[in-house]
Symmetry: C2
DNA sequence: AAAGTCATGTAAAGCGTTACATGATTAT
DNA sequence: ATAATCATGTAACGCTTTACATGACTTT
């Protein structure tokens, strides 16, 4: 599939940048739907250069801090465009260890279950707050009214990440409520 | 992380089964949060047998159809239990090619954007219907009222998969509406 | 008879993470 | 001076997919 290839082409198409810049974008803005470590980015940049999809110039010249600024080529732009135009079938659903553990919930006591769900809930709520904070910053600093602008892309994917967390939190709360109720009934039943 | 290891241990802990059975569970019930191809399952079963976490007996004996029925060992049960008790930090968010393409939305015309979103929406709606159908079957055929039962695990993860699809669909609909509105305004603006 | 499912495996390649490795620049 | 950040790369390992491979049983 080579998705990393197209992710890099797309970012360099937006704006010429270094491998280090790419790394920051992957691990900040894009982290909610795509990411890569620098150890994957640098070899991919080399590969894309070999394939003549991108080129680079070293700046500042002669000096010691060798910084490679990558730009997209016409060939690269075309391949990126073909990729984004192509309509894909649904991907397999993402793997989720917490859900896997939830599937095996019968192996735990109600107290342990509640522990697990509360721990996950706290983490998810913290994440949601961060995302909502990012959204506030985006709305305050950028104009997202034009659909044909990079800012609109930033906006809609951030919106989807927020929805995703809210949905997860809703599920966790419902599970906690059900298990709590069951626990209470169970306790009541033991009373004569 | 060896999550496949624990997924297999968990399933064999529920009930002794063959590699083929595991494959079917992974690609049917568990497919919404964990899965594996048979080419990954068989080597893992071999590894788990070497580690003495599972054992197998061949049935029917002497006959040609060699069928290995795997059972969990006490050691396997312990390792599984340790795994499920352990509280994990949030995993990195799952990768999503459609969201990645959405991030690069500026590269497409409004008509193409709507095309993409509608195509995705149709697929997600079909998937949601399948999940809701599965839920109906589950509720009709099993008693999910006992938390300490495998059926309850089936139920809560199916519920989360349904929520996930609904949330995705909601997002797609909002995007479609925004882009449609924008398109209309754009068209209106071009009228004198 | 043919097609589909049951049943089990291996090999090669691709993707991704962790660890190893180096050195310059900037902020405290 | 020291720590943090900028900047670039490689090596080893682990996980996952695709393709190769075989054969029995069951349904049409």
């Amino acid at each position: 599939m080579r998705t990393l290839k197209y992710a890099i082409l797309g970012l360099i198409n937006r704006e010429s940048m270094t491998g280090y810049d790419l790394m920051k974008v992957f691990n900040m803005e894009l982290v909610n739907f795509w990411y890569a470590k620098h150890s994957q980015i640098y070899p991919e940049l080399k590969k894309l250069t070999d394939e003549k999809l991108i080129t680079y110039e070293i700046l500042p010249e002669d000096e010691k801090l060798r910084k490679k600024i990558y730009s997209i080529t016409e060939k690269g732009r075309q391949e990126f465009h073909n990729w984004i135009l192509q309509q894909d079938l649904l991907e397999p659903t993402p793997k989720d260890i917490f859900r896997l553990k939830a599937y095996f919930i019968e192996s735990l006591s109600n107290a342990k279950i509640l522990n697990h769900f509360h721990y996950q809930l706290t983490q998810r709520q913290e994440k949601l707050e961060k995302l909502q904070n990012n959204m506030q910053i985006l709305l305050d600093s950028k104009d997202i009214s034009k659909i044909q602008s990079p800012e609109y892309g930033d906006y809609i994917v951030l919106k989807s990440a927020i929805k995703r967390e809210k949905s997860y939190i809703e599920w966790l709360n419902e599970c906690i409520e059900e298990v709590t109720t069951n626990t209470r009934i169970f306790v009541d039943e033991r009373r004569p």
